[in-house]
Amino acid sequence: MASLRDIKNRITSTKKTSQITKAMEMVSASKLSRAESNAKAFVPYMAKVEEVVASIAVGAKDATHPMLVSRPVKKTAYLVITSDRGLAGAYNSNVIRAAYNAIQSRHTSKDEYVVMTVGRVGRDFFAKKEVNIIDSILGLPDQPIFADIKEITSKAVAMYADEAFDELYMYYNHFVSAISQEVTEKKVLPLTDVASVSSKVSSYEFDPSAEAILEVLLPQYAESLIYGALLDGKASEHAARMTAMRSATDNAKELIDSLSLSYNRARQAAITQEITEIVGGVAALE
């Protein structure tokens, strides 16, 4: 049986750990509410862009753009959105597993795909697997603004336009609720499902022409899709971390309870033994 002091030490250190996890839980909770409101602020922009894209796609059928057309796939790109730090439960491992499994089942050779990563965890994983990583962002702030990710989104869109790859999928955790996040695969490029987005369509005049507008609009649309996924991923990250830290705090509490119990037992045993020894000693003197 462990000595009294050992148990005491374990109780103190567990208590300290639980203080930290408790603090992290509260920090994540406040970040989560910020991330949720960021995601909400983005909705009107996305909705508007979608509406205009759809109305052009429907209203000007003859207007076409390379980003709308599927071409034979020689190379596929995967954008995997992870976090920089761990301690977020299964947040990172879920999304990485989904992406890696998909890659494994779809491709036979390493020349057929490239990977872009957001976050340290994803980069490290794919670097270890010796996958060709063409771009990665580290140190994304907790409340990203559009300018922070402009570089990776425009690079992705530009590389697609240059035919460096012919398809772009992204993998991220979709925020369902504070306790549930879903790994989601989304095909970003080519934009094949644009026409199906439309609900209410107004017919516009295009200045100078529908093609010229698609030229400006479609890259922005694709970039917004990626930005939206990123905001979604951030909200999920904070939610996942909050849940993980809450269960860590709960576990620490349980551990402290059971350790206190054995501490009290050990102390009682020591006292009982002492009394027995004294009684024994007195008896021997008589």
Binding site: F42, Y45, K48, S202, Y204, Q220, S224
Partner: protein, 132 residues
């Protein structure tokens, strides 16, 4: 006077919302003024200022990478970045201007990017000065 509802929306949220008498801005095909009751129209915008006239004064908003969507009763400007004149960080804009100018002086291949950065910075500074 008749007014039209204007909203300027960026990925980071709406930045401007108001009823105005006239919107004038610079589209890729030239300067463009929109009055209430305009036919539905879509046009991409240059990096530039959006002038919103209402009740005798004019609001200025610096806009980057946007396009304009017009409907008879509503004008929406979607932009990757937009700041009303009173929210422009003038020090930062000046700094960005110097940086871009330095880059343009050097002989490097990112000429286009530096030029765009310079135009954004100059646009912000101009919009800021209009408002004074």
């Amino acid at each position: 006077m008749k007014t039209v509802k204007v909203s300027i929306v960026t990925p980071d949220g709406p930045v401007y919302e108001s009823d105005v008498e006239m919107v004038s801005t610079k589209a890729q095909s030239g300067d463009l003024g929109v009055l209430p009751g305009h036919i539905p129209m879509v046009a991409p915008l240059e990096i530039g200022a959006v002038r919103l006239k209402k009740e005798g004064h004019t609001d200025y908003v610096a806009v980057t990478g946007g396009f304009l969507e017009v409907r008879p009763e509503q004008v929406t400007i979607l932009a990757q970045a937009a700041e009303p004149a009173d929210q422009i960080d003038i020090e930062r804009a000046k700094e960005a201007k110097h940086r871009a100018e330095d880059k343009l002086k050097q002989d490097n291949m990112d000429f286009k990017r530096a030029e765009l950065a310079l135009r954004r910075a100059i646009n912000r500074i101009e919009v800021y000065q209009h408002d004074r």
